[in-house]
């Protein structure tokens, strides 16, 4: 059984703190309801023993009215508790969800990979719901259950000490059964959550890769995969539930045995004139109240098991240290000089042979740099280091002589533009998409960016122009159009450092050439272009050739033709003619 740390619990109650007023009021109103409920049997027994048995009509009527008043007060208590507990728990869930989302946005890619996206989704939705329910139930039942129970026991003792002993035997019996069964179910429910994760994963993959699945006719294969995940979930859920449903019948039996005991012993005592009829009736009522409240508490514990697993999973997210907590950032004005000093890097810390080895180069502001190299040689990784998504294992990446990791992320983001390989298309109007990088952009700036990205004419040709909605329910763009939109979104920031990670693959050469030449016309901007096409970077100020994680050559096109064999080979394969160095 997974133990929930006291510390973890306390962290959770922290989310309830802002609503402490509600969290106190709810139970208080519940106390009101409970007290009223506890009075009823007593009042009823008074009617029987002092009213009916004595033939006192007056007392009967008076007590009857009292019972009505008590009932009204009780209702007010119940409704009040509902209102306050609901507001508190929903707000709790809301705040928790928000914080968790924030945390996850801050995750490093390694963290996201470790948890897997599907599991993160489950945690943010499913698991938080469970905990929210837990809070709601706590605010309602945590007071009601124990109070009813204790109150009932006290009242029972007051009526008749001897009969109360029956209750004292039954209670431990009941509690023993609850705890034994709950312990077992806790473990089982955490397995259920894992199965849900797996199911989420399979569904997600199928939905994202639906085209692929249809092309390869893999529906049956995928259905089999799903079948397994589905079957596993159903089985483990059934296992968990089956453990839990044993409680109901057993509890019922114990309660009923209790009633019979009271009748039996009560009857004997009435014979010996040691108890009144009304008192026997009241006793039965209190027994039921006590037992039912124990049931309530046990249900609550069952729920804790399911929620406890969720708490654990949520905590795992919060345990991830937030990065860059205590770094003192430098606020510099970025000009765009980039330098790599003996940089070694790999995504895994202890690799023998890291991905990037001893990268050294320096680029002056305003230069256009082409980066070329084999698939998997580390080009994208290099770019990731420039924008500070990762930090080198050894060596330094410097912008304007300041290590990237010391530059304030906000300034870095504002002044760098990154257009990546994986084109994610945003949904929104074209205007919104382009202005995504700079929300306060003017219409003129948006138009400018579109022009540079060679999208202006196309956008004007659309019926709604810049207000055309892209995405669901809107028009759909081709791959090349999406890439160009993404480029526009990066350009609009007028960044000092602009990075193109092979993002013109779907754009024809003519358009690409125009885009880059347009770029040169705007303000001095250090541009890094990763592309396999020699023609795109032939005119670059520098070309960096990467082979196997190291730099195989740096220079202009002409220089590399003379000095770098790999470069020569690439040029040959693209122009289809032999070059003699």
């Amino acid at each position: 059984m997974q133990k929930i740390n006291r510390k973890d619990f306390r962290a959770f109650t922290g989310y309830l703190k802002p609503y402490y007023k509600l969290a106190i009021l709810a139970p208080l109103f519940m106390v009101l309801e409970v007290i009223m409920d506890l009075m009823q049997p007593k009042l009823l027994s008074r009617i029987v023993d002092h009213g009916i048995m004595m033939g006192n009509m007056d007392l009967i009527i008076k007590t009857g009215f009292m019972m009505i008043i008590v009932a009204v007060i009780g209702m007010i208590g119940g409704i009040g508790c509902t209102i306050f507990s609901t507001i508190a728990s929903q707000n709790f869930g809301h705040d928790l969800r928000k914080d968790m989302f924030k945390r996850i946005l801050d995750f490093s890619p390694a963290d996201i990979d470790r948890f897997t996206p599907s599991s993160l989704i489950t945690r943010l939705t499913n698991d938080i719901n469970q905990v929210q329910q837990l809070v709601l139930m706590s605010l309602r039942l945590l007071v009601r259950g124990p109070l009813l129970c204790i109150g009932g026991i006290v009242m029972a003792f007051i009526i008749n000490f001897e009969l109360s002993l029956i209750i004292l035997v039954l209670i431990p019996l009941l509690l023993f059964i609850f705890f034994k069964i709950t312990k077992k179910s806790f473990h089982l429910f955490s397995i259920v959550q894992q199965k849900i994760d797996r199911l989420n994963l399979v569904v997600r993959e199928n939905l994202s890769g639906i085209r692929l699945i249809r092309i390869f006719n893999r529906q049956e294969y995928e259905k089999q995969r799903f079948y397994e995940a589905n079957r596993n979930l159903a089985t483990s859920l059934l296992q968990a539930i089956n453990v839990v449903i044993k409680i109901g019948p057993i509890v019922m039996l114990i309660i009923n045995a209790g009633i019979l005991s009271i009748l039996w012993f009560g009857g004997k005592m009435y014979l010996a004139q040691r108890i009144e009829i009304g008192e026997i009736m009241a006793f039965i009522s209190y027994l039921l109240i006590i037992m039912m409240s124990l049931v309530m508490v046990s249900n609550f514990f069952i729920f804790i098991s399911r929620a406890g697993a969720s708490i654990e999973r949520i905590n795992e997210i919060f345990k991830i240290k937030q990065r860059r907590e205590d770094i003192h950032y430098k606020e510099i004005e970025i000009k765009g000089n980039v330098e790599f000093r003996n940089v070694f890097f790999d995504y895994e810390k202890d690799k023998n042979e890291p991905l990037l080895k001893n990268i050294c180069f320096s680029v002056e502001q305003g230069e256009t740099v082409g980066i070329i190299g084999k698939t998997g040689s580390g080009k994208t990784t290099l770019l990731n280091l420039i924008v500070g998504l990762y930090t080198p294992l050894k060596g330094e990446v410097l912008i304007d002589n300041v290590p990237v990791k010391e530059i304030s992320p906000e300034i870095l983001r504002k002044n760098t533009g990154y257009v990546s390989q994986n084109v994610f298309l945003f949904s929104g109007t074209i205007r919104e998409i382009i202005a995504w990088g700079k929300p306060d952009a003017s219409d003129e700036e948006i138009k400018q960016a579109a022009k540079i990205a060679m999208m202006y004419d196309f956008i004007l040709s659309l019926p709604d122009g810049f207000d055309t909605y892209i995405g669901e329910k809107g028009i759909n763009l081709s791959g090349g159009q999406r890439q160009r939109l993404t480029i526009a979104a990066a350009i609009i920031k007028k960044p000092k450092i602009l990075i193109f990670d092979d993002c013109t693959s779907s754009v024809d050469l003519l358009t690409e050439k125009n885009i880059f030449s347009n770029l040169k016309k705007i303000e001095k901007c250090t541009t890094f272009i990763v592309t396999p096409r020699i023609f795109s970077i032939m005119d670059a100020d520098k070309i960096i050739v990467i082979e196997d994680g190291t730099i195989a050559g740096i220079g202009t096109h002409q220089e590399l033709l003379e000095t770098c064999r790999y470069y020569r080979e690439v040029v040959e394969s693209q122009t289809g003619e032999k070059i003699n160095a």
Partner: protein
């Protein structure tokens, strides 16, 4: 000019549009009918459950009566002979009651989990039969929510609500009957408040139903936002958009909270009200029952029985109210589930022509196609390609190249015209057969969270390991696979993010090589591979393309130059056809496209 590409969506915008723009469950009765039909599949089990319910209810109805009897016959008269036997009999009844209850719960849990399994399965199966147009309009996260969250709601509710509901109804009827039997007068007075309560319950539950539906909808939306942000985290980071995305999330999050508050408040008011009814009844029984007892119209035992009956009465009523709410929530979820399962599936032609020995001749005759009615993306496409020919399709971005090849595999259905393979209209060929002979290598590679070997095996499920390795050798993927720690057994993480774009492309090509199609489509398949590697593959690709009809969408000079025919597309039409030489001599669109890309060098090389 418009082409559809399957990508993930997120970003700015005033929120997505859900398919349900209304806020109430639209057709609760219909949904309920469908739901019941699902449940009806477990007839035998339900019968057992019903038997148990009748049994437990009957026993529960007798119990207070017996208690009353115990008071009147044995205790009051102070005559305890035979009391022992009486008590023993009651205990046996209680024991039996508990057993029945266990069997009931056990069977019901089985039913509800099977139902959950069934619903999830049918949703998944439906996903694979639905037209792409339908799926394109939904968010992935929302559909995931339906498969997992909504079925869970239905399951849990069915597991408990049905039994509670039925046993509640039986208990109610039985209890009232017994009460009337014992004393009609007292019964009448006990139930004075019922009509008022019924009215209030009705008002409350209709509001509750709406709020629950809204809540589920919001949950789906939240799911969607989370899904997109987690998938596109890099872009969010690089653009520094964490704050904005958080705001967007916050908005929906708050709406979820507000819906939740309303839903739960309304549904939570009911129990205290029912409790109130309970207590009032006690007051009445005490008062009026007391008066009647004094007048010797009823006995004390009757009062005892009545107290117990009222307690037993309000419990089912309370639960009925609760269950009613839960059933509302379940119906809301069911509606979301059935929207997927009951949606119009892709139609398959009744008669299929079996295809054998496909040579690979492809013809398009007057083909017109639009994604949205009237906005034609492809106009009057006509061509004929002989088996074994290699066709290069070129043109500016967005003219319809990918759309064209999507139609060949019947990903979408054409509006007008015919597409023929070896003279057979592809509408008459079963889709699975069609897709066996045509394979498309997409620009967006898609890899699953399985081992590399299993990902490649996707091309041919019964391939041997050796065949897989061979395919990887041809695709030039073998090299980098050998460098991975687990080689072919390396498990790719969620979507293959651990490999570079180029490496993923190589795996995708290997997968297609394994599939051995007759018609091959390369949709800018090598666009993310550096030219040197591409050159290495080129040899094997040529071997692979031998004897097959190939359609290649590409921007690269080498690929285009060596094609048998080149189709030049612009604005949804094929405007030029011919070999490279012919088109250059033509000095038309192609000529301009070509020369502007490659400049002087190209022209001098001819």
């Amino acid at each position: 000019m418009l082409e559809r590409r399957h990508g993930t969506f997120f970003g700015p915008g005033s929120g997505r549009h859900m398919v349900f723009s209304s806020e109430k469950p639209e057709k609760p009765l219909e949904t309920l009918k469908v739901l019941l039909s699902y449940i009806g599949r477990y007839r035998l089990s339900i019968f057992i459950v019903l038997l148990c319910i009748v049994g437990t209810s009957a026993l529960s109805i007798i119990s207070p009566y017996l208690i009353g009897k115990a008071v009147d016959v044995y205790i009051m008269p102070k005559n305890l002979t035979g009391f022992g036997r009486f008590v023993a009999m009651m205990f046996t009844i209680y024991l039996f009651n508990s057993l029945l209850l266990y069997v009931q719960s056990f069977t019901m849990a089985d039913i509800s989990q099977n139902l959950g399994f069934q619903l999830r399965k049918e949703m998944f199966d439906s996903i694979h039969c639905l037209p792409l147009g339908f799926l394109d309009k939904k968010q992935i996260g929302d559909i995931m929510s339906r498969v997992v969250n909504d079925t869970d709601t239905i399951c849990m509710t069915v597991g408990t609500s049905i039994t509670q509901f039925i046993s509640g109804v039986i208990m109610l009827i039985g209890t009232v009957s017994m009460m009337i039997f014992l004393s009609p007068v007292l019964t009448m007075f006990s139930f004075i408040l019922i009509p008022l309560m019924a009215l209030i319950t009705k008002i409350i539950s209709s509001r509750t139903r709406n709020y629950f539906f809204q809540q589920q909808t919001k949950l789906g939306q939240v799911n969607g936002i989370i899904q997109e942000n987690i998938t596109g985290w890099k872009i969010v980071k690089v653009f520094g958009k964490e704050k904005d995305e958080l705001e967007k999330f916050e908005k929906t999050n708050s709406q979820l909270r507000d819906c939740g508050i309303m839903a739960q408040q309304f549904s939570g008011i009911l129990p205290p009200m029912i409790n109130f009814l309970n207590n009032i009844s006690f007051a009445i029984i005490g008062g009026i029952g007391g008066a009647l007892t004094i007048k010797k119209i009823i006995t004390i035992g009757t009062i005892v029985s009545f107290i117990n009956y009222v307690r037993q009465f309000t419990r089912p009523v309370n639960e009925l109210a609760n269950q009613y709410n839960m059933i509302q929530a379940a119906i809301a979820s069911a509606e979301r589930v059935f929207e997927i399962t009951e949606a119009e599936k892709e139609k398959e032609q009744q008669h299929h022509i079996q295809i054998k020995d496909i040579k690979g001749k492809v013809e398009f005759k007057n083909v017109w196609f639009s994604y949205e009615k009237g906005k034609y993306v492809l106009k009057n496409i006509n061509f004929s390609v002989e088996p074994g020919q290699t066709v290069a399709i070129v043109g500016p971005t967005g003219v319809g190249k990918t759309t064209l090849v999507n139609l060949m595999t019947r990903m979408y259905e054409i509006d007008k015209g015919q597409i023929l393979i070896d003279g057979i209209d592809i509408k008459n060929i079963k889709k699975t057969d069609l897709r066996k002979i045509i394979k498309v290598v997409l620009q967006d590679t898609y890899l699953f969270a399985e081992t590399i070997k299993e990902n490649i095996r996707y091309g041919k499920l019964d391939a041997t390991d050796q065949q897989i390795i061979n395919a990887c050798k041809i695709a030039n993927a073998e090299n980098f696979i050998q460098y991975l720690p687990e080689k072919y057994e390396t498990v790719l993480i969620d979507g293959g993010q651990s490999l570079s774009q180029g490496q993923r492309q190589l795996l995708s090509i290997a997968r297609t090589i394994l599939a051995e199609p007759k018609i091959l489509v390369l949709d800018e398949a090598t666009s993310n591979i550096d030219t040197k590697t591409e050159k290495d593959i080129q040899q094997s690709m040529l071997k692979l393309m031998e004897g097959k009809t190939c359609f290649v969408i590409a921007h690269r000079l080498n690929t285009i130059k060596n094609a048998d025919i080149i189709f030049v597309m612009n604005e949804g039409e094929i405007i030029e056809k011919g070999t490279h030489k012919q088109l250059m001599e033509n000095k038309g669109f192609y000529y301009h496209l070509y020369t502007s890309q490659f400049g002087e060098i190209a022209i001098s090389n001819g």
